[in-house]
Amino acid sequence: MSIDLNLVGAKGAIAQEAEGKWGMVIDQDVCTGCQACVAACAMENNLSFVGEEDAGYGRTQHWIRIERFWEGAYPEVKSTPFQPMLCQQCGSAPCEPVCPVFASVHSQSQDINLQVYNRCVGTRYCANNCPYQVRQFNYRDYHLDPIHANEVDGQLVYPFHNQFNPDVTVRRRGVMEKCTFCIQRIHKAEDTAKSQGREVVDGEMVPACAQACPSNAITFGRLDDPESLVSQMAHDERGFKHLEELNTMPRITYLKEG
């Protein structure tokens, strides 16, 4: 498909292509809320930890988070099924039209939302307009805070920097960031497939969250391939999409409990 989603009037065209390219299915019936995906995402994508105080202000850099709500009162109280919440990679994303500098744009080749870090000027309009509250702002240069460093021969040495994934940009203060569906892994899989003269095979690449998930609650793949596991699961009768009524056309289908 080739619809320029940054053009006025693209919406109608997307509606026909509402399936999208890459997509995810999250089975809430088996998600145990264990946070393995959250940790895996942090390790893969060079996410900063922000410390207790900033965490209390809601400034944590969780590209994926696990939500749970309470229903009823003791003893009939119930925890709603754990709900991993991450960028829904909307087909019609509310974050995109509000960005004055086109830092939040739609990728034509991958059909996902991009965040271009070196365009971002930090207006935070996109985060305000995101109904899923999944965009994170770098309020500080967290990874350069001297409290994480040791002084060696008069120089500050940051041992944690050894761990940075060279495939992912390290973000500085004043920049918005969010889940990318591990685009670096998508690119790597596509490059490998291309060099071997073939298409990317279903299941060949998965994002860090799906790879770690101990209960296999997260499935990732091509929605435009009807044979792929994720396409078939997305049509499960338990499936629903979050805030679908806003017509955001999310690429993530949740499977409800039961």
């Binding site: 809320g33 393995a36 390790m43 965490a55 309470w70 761990q163 994934n165």
Partner: protein
């Protein structure tokens, strides 16, 4: 064997070599480590932009999951699960993911240290040669009976080495301990299996093939025994069979993360788990129409229902579900067993499985297979066995104490007296990687490598259907001037001479490991075989361990279990107070995660609190006591008192308060020290019949500290919760 072959060539050869031909193994000392070079000066085995992957074993808990670590130019970048390892089949938990925050932790001990005054941070460095002399002298100059080894929970190559070393000089066998085994009441579970089936073993619960799971406070989705394996089982139970969805019922006084996934959460009164199991057993046996086993026959159902604070209808409903289920399974968990009647409770729940006759059947109870190179189970020590060591230390019977892989000053309740006992030991030698509380009280710290810089193997105690020996290898070269404890002991043994040198004539730990798995080399029923030991070692590294090809699950005998008579008494609680105290292992931090900042910043799955300790209290109870969210209260038990802020938790019994274990360090680096409180110091010195600490058997009282609040950082919003933040609107 060539010593000049590079690691990359070796791995290439190991990959292309057929399983039956010998490969050049490059296992000489010079090529055993990957070098970490500046980016300007690339080692020859790295290609620009290409990663190298190494298989190893996760050491964040003792489950023994296999890892594949992605490295680039000598740096570890990302931890993935090893898809071939039967324990975790490619999956990892949050703690496994955060292993790298230990490897690159800025608070690691960077070289051997000597301390003149215990407890003071000030230390002097010393050379490793001097350190080896210290260890050699400690082995040589003391009466063997006065040497003690204290180690972590994992049954690894170091434990085997220390066992051999201790045996060679006639010292007592090393003790393995971990607070996790206390929270799991592992010794109780093993003892119950021994009493009922005549075989000391860890049962394996095949929940993946069950259609009904009754868990008596087993936190199998959090930290219990082998959490990844049991999570996989849970997933299969729920969604593995398209024709049915497994039903899951959890009995627990507080809704844990595991209970939050249940279909029915039954908040029974703490200490009545065994009685409830008895009642269900009688109802099920009656519904099935067979003979009711004698221990269950004369159970008074109404009494139990009222003691457990559960309705008769609920018991009957559950019993009916069990009786009608195709493959029901009942699991005894930690806080049900960490009570003075814990052993009886464990036996009752295991017998309940005998009543529904699920032993050895899909979805039932099995024995966990032993690891390939062990003859009998080596479980971690119970708290009672720790007391024996502590008493010996207090009595001056221990002249030198070696500590590796655990932090007893943090992991043992103060009431057990380890702190005083440690003061009576003239020489304490710690092998800690991090400056933890125990290392701070040690005269010498000879830091071991981080697990990702280490060789080794680990026996898998439970979780896989087959026998597994998980393998570890360094994925990066050591970052600091640390040395493998196994190598230190081998070298010191040679210095000491005599029986030690004779018993352990190994050049380094790799030779020792090879001697321990030599018997597996030509076994044909394993994941690979090899013509000789060096080739075997190479495959062992490459595959991340060795395991049997097919499942080896033995079945317990139901008639053995049903023939035993069981008497369950009501649990006794220690101390005065209106609240049952329910401490639990933090699902995200575990026992040693507090120094890893990303684990600190993971929200607790049920409360979403980060970076601190909280007390869970029922909102109704709190309202009566005029306590609000974030009010600091003092919790007082017979053993001690702690202060912590309240979290109003809607899913806990009104007569119970709960606290997570994991925080409250006074040392252990900048991310852990001075953060939160350690609830373990509220626990008294009470044990069950299997020697496990009765950690769930405490009663406490609380005092509100007027005017003192401490805001907890939570992921969830406070607005609107219990009307907070709505006053002005």
């Amino acid at each position: 064997m060539s010593e000049n072959i590079s690691r990359r060539d070796f791995l290439k050869l190991a990959t292309v070599g057929a399983a039956t031909t010998a490969v050049l193994t490059g296992c000489g000392p010079a090529s055993r480590y990957i070098k970490r070079e500046p980016y300007m000066q690339m080692p020859e085995y790295t290609y620009n932009g290409l990663s190298t992957y190494y298989a190893t074993t996760c050491r964040e808990c003792a489950a023994g999951c296999g890892l594949i670590v992605r490295t680039m130019q000598g740096r570890a970048i990302k931890v993935e699960g090893n898809p071939n390892n039967p324990v975790n089949l490619g999956k990892t938990c949050a703690r496994g993911q955060a292993t790298l925050h230990g490897l690159y932790n800025p608070d690691r001990i960077t070289g051997p240290l000597q301390r003149t005054t215990r407890g003071e941070a000030a230390t002097e460095g010393l050379e490793w040669d001097a350190a080896l002399q210290v260890v050699g002298d400690a082995l040589n100059n003391n009466n063997p009976d006065e040497v003690a080894f204290l180690m972590g929970m994992a049954p690894d190559h170091l434990f085997d080495l220390v066992s051999d070393l201790a045996a060679s000089i006639g010292a007592p066998a090393p003790l393995r301990y971990g607070v996790l085994s206390m929270f799991e009441a592992r010794a109780t579970l093993v003892k119950a299996a021994e009493d009922l089936f005549g075989q000391a073993t860890l049962p394996f619960f095949d929940i993946g093939n069950a259609d009904l799971v009754l868990s008596f406070s087993a936190n199998f989705l959090e930290t219990w025994l082998s959490p990844i394996a049991y999570t996989r089982g849970f997933s299969k139970m729920r969604r593995g069979n398209p024709k049915r969805r497994g039903h899951f019922i959890q009995f627990e006084s507080r809704m844990s993360q595991t209970a939050a996934k249940s279909d029915e959460w039954i908040p029974i009164k703490p200490g009545t788990e065994g009685l409830v199991a008895l009642a269900i057993g009688r109802l099920v046996a009656e519904a099935k129409g067979g003979t009711v086993p004698s221990s269950f026959e004369n159970v008074n159902l109404e009494d139990i229902a009222s003691l457990a604070d559960v309705s008769m209808e609920t018991l009957e409903h559950i019993a009916q579900l069990v009786a009608e289920a195709e493959s029901p399974i009942m699991i005894p968990g930690g806080s049900a067993l960490g009570l003075n009647n814990g052993l009886q409770t464990a036996e009752t729940i295991l017998t309940l499985n005998a009543i529904v006759d699920n032993f050895g059947k899909a979805g039932g109870v099995f024995f966990s297979p032993l690891s390939p190179n062990e003859d009998e189970i080596h479980r971690p020590a119970s708290s009672q066995e720790m007391i024996e060591l502590i008493e010996k230390m207090k009595g001056g019977g221990v002249k030198v104490l070696f500590v590796h892989g655990l932090n007893p000053l943090f992991e043992l309740p103060k009431a057990l007296g380890f702190e005083d006992a440690l003061a009576s030991v003239p020489q304490v030698i710690s092998f800690a990687t991090f400056p933890d509380e125990t290392a701070l009280q040690a005269d010498y710290v000879f830091p071991d490598h981080h697990p990702l810089e280490s060789w080794g193997y680990q026996r898998v105690a439970t979780g896989a259907e087959q026998s597994v020996l998980s393998g570890a290898q360094p994925v990066v070269s050591p970052n600091y001037d640390t040395r493998a404890t196994a190598d230190v002991l081998l070298a010191a043994g040679q210095l000491a001479g005599g029986a030690v040198a004779q018993a352990l004539p190994f050049q380094d730990e790799i030779e020792f490991m090879q001697s321990k798995f030599a018997s597996l080399v030509s076994q044909v029923d394993g994941s690979f075989s090899a013509p000789e030991i060096n080739t075997f070692s190479a495959y062992f590294q490459q595959h991340g361990g060795w395991w049997k090809k097919s499942a080896e699950l033995a079945a317990p005998s139901a008639s053995d279990a049903l023939g035993k008579s069981i008497v369950v008494e009501q649990a006794q609680f220690a101390g005065e107070g209106e609240f049952f105290f329910h401490p639990f292992m933090s699902p995200t931090l575990g026992e040693a995660g507090a120094n890893k900042p990303w684990l600190q910043e993971l929200p607790d799955p049920t409360t979403t609190v980060m970076w601190n300790t909280w007390v869970e209290m029922n909102p109704e109870t709190a309202h009566e006591l005029h306590i609000e969210n974030d009010d600091v209260i003092k919790i007082i038990s017979e053993a001690g008192e702690v202060e912590a802020p309240v979290y109003l938790y809607p899913a806990i019994r009104p007569d119970t308060i709960a606290m997570p274990f994991g925080q409250g360090h006074t040392a252990y680096g900048r991310y852990a020290a001075g953060r939160g409180v350690n609830p373990i110091n509220l626990l008294g010195s009470h044990f069950n019949e299997a020697g496990d600490l009765a950690f769930a058997g405490m009663k406490v009282r609380i005092e509100k500290i007027e005017g003192k609040k401490q805001l907890l950082s939570r992921l969830e919003s406070r607005i609107g919760v219990y009307n907070e933040g709505l006053e002005e609107h």
